[in-house]
């Protein structure tokens, strides 16, 4: 195998059989994110829906006690797939997840490109996929904190407050759905963020791209839907596609009259495109034309 394809390998040393070279990258990424005060504030804001919905789980078992306060709203406090859909597909949660991606993710690759750190990374026995894995898992950590953790928390709280496993008996696939959606959201947002971060050496520019692409896709959906009244334009919006897939995976009613498989396909295509971008941009050496 040519040297250029091997990366740096310490021929005389012994590498561990079960290497996880992405671990230090993940640890560093998480540490750096938590160093910023703004990030802690944003993470706190992103957890608000978890608190609200957790309270909802509690109230759902105490409807009589809260009858006066929640008059008319009791149908929203039934903990079922629609409840989970309302949480996961809420504009608020998706918005704060985006902000977290901006704060924790916009500079993940952009800063390495600016400081020419990729050469340092790849001068170690680190493959490109280890590097990208490390970066992606940093983002997945935060995303799963906001998706997987609350989802399981709601199920556990429901079991505790109801004193029975009724919810699991009624919807046995719910934990799997929560896990599946969490992985889809984490995976998509990670690819999306890393690809846009790799497009520039300027973190600020990457931040604006992250925000602009997300909102622009939604605005375009709104414009074309407003003119042509065709739900197929849902496929233009990143947010709408995520909401469609969330509804489908959670076994709830979809938002739009568009097959959820199409939305999933759009997200998959975007993820593949992101992968292509990353494979071109993340290199050990820079080719200057």
């Amino acid at each position: 195998m040519p040297i250029a394809e091997q990366g740096y390998v310490h021929w005389e040393g012994r590498l561990d059989v079960r290497r996880r070279p992405w671990r230090p990258i993940v640890r560093l990424g998480i540490r750096l994110a938590f160093r910023r005060k703004a990030f802690k504030f944003v993470l706190g804001m992103a957890f608000l829906p978890t608190l609200v919905f957790a309270a909802g789980v509690y109230i759902s078992e105490r409807l009589d006690d809260f009858k006066e306060m929640i008059r008319g709203a009791d149908r929203f406090l039934k903990v079922d797939p629609e409840f989970f859909k309302a949480f996961y597909a809420s504009d608020y949660l998706l918005f704060w997840m985006l902000i977290i991606m901006v704060l924790a993710g916009a500079g993940l690759i952009a800063d390495d490109l600016r400081h020419k750190a990729l050469q340092l990374y790849f001068a170690r026995p680190l493959r490109r996929r280890d590097y990208l894995q490390g970066k992606a898992l940093t983002l997945c950590f935060f995303l799963l904190l906001l998706t997987l953790l609350p989802g399981f928390l709601f199920i556990v709280l429901k079991v505790i407050f109801s004193g029975s496993f009724k919810i699991l008996a009624e919807y046995p696939w719910l934990p799997l759905s929560v896990a599946a959606w969490s992985l889809v959201a984490a995976g998509f947002f990670s690819f999306y963020t890393l690809a846009l971060s790799s497009l520039s050496r300027n973190r600020r520019y990457a931040s604006i791209l992250l925000i602009a692409v997300y909102f622009l896709s939604d605005i375009f959906f709104g414009i074309f839907y407003g003119i042509f009244r065709d739900p197929a334009f849902t496929l233009l919006s990143v947010k709408s596609n995520l909401q469609q897939v969330a509804a489908a995976l959670l076994g709830a009613k979809p938002f739009f009259e568009v097959p959820w498989e199409y939305s999933a396909a759009v997200l998959a295509v975007l993820a593949v495109l992101a992968g292509v971008v990353l494979s071109r941009k993340v290199r050990g050496s820079e080719v200057i034309k």
Partner: protein
Amino acid sequence: MAGGVFRVLSFTGRLVRRARRTKVFAFLCLLPVILALIVRAKALASPGRGLDGLAIFGNIIVAFGLQFLILILALFFGTSVVSEEVEGKTLTYWTTRPVPKPAVVLGKYAAFVAVLLVLVLASTAVAFLILNLDRLDYGPAWSFLGKSLAALSLGVVCYTAFFTLVGTVLKKSVLFGFFFSFGWENIVQYFPGSTQKFTVMHYLKSLLPGVGETSPNVLQFLMFRLDPSPAWAAVLTLLVLTAVFLALACWLFGRKEYLFDEG
């Protein structure tokens, strides 16, 4: 001072023309044209359905331009006036020339605004032409275009000045700018009464055509809950705000020390 501003403007203009990301933002500014082409193509494909070009121009192109495009452009370019030089550690080259510090801020601001105005106004005008090819002899349509372009122009000028100030003061200028643009501006503009006057968007919308008319107009969407100010007051307020933002930015830039991250 004026000479210094012009020299900075000239050099910045050259730098902006060369920058790769200018091409990306130029593409972003083409979106109204692309939208207009798609709508026009769809109308041509379905000849039975009439196309109200002015309504689509007003409710979509102008709305898109005013509530998204100029905000994103002003956010990036406005904060770039100072932040980009600090992040790129090239600020030293500007501050070790015989050019007054305020001239650096004003010259760069002027260069960015000039580029943005060309991009935004050109694309908006082309989008208008595409959508209204069949009523170019309709006088009020041109007046509509003129007022819309005026609103967009003042939006570029005022928002860029605001974000120039933000970029001069704050390190996390993009995040603050984002919350301001898509939080404060997008929400408070719909508050009833005089609260909406605490947004720049209120004054921009007060300049739009058909403001204050009782009969429904093509900009119903944008006029939602708008309690418009008189046009002269809106223009004056926008210009005063621009002057204040720029004056503050110049003053702060002259007094502030910028330390580069050594990391």
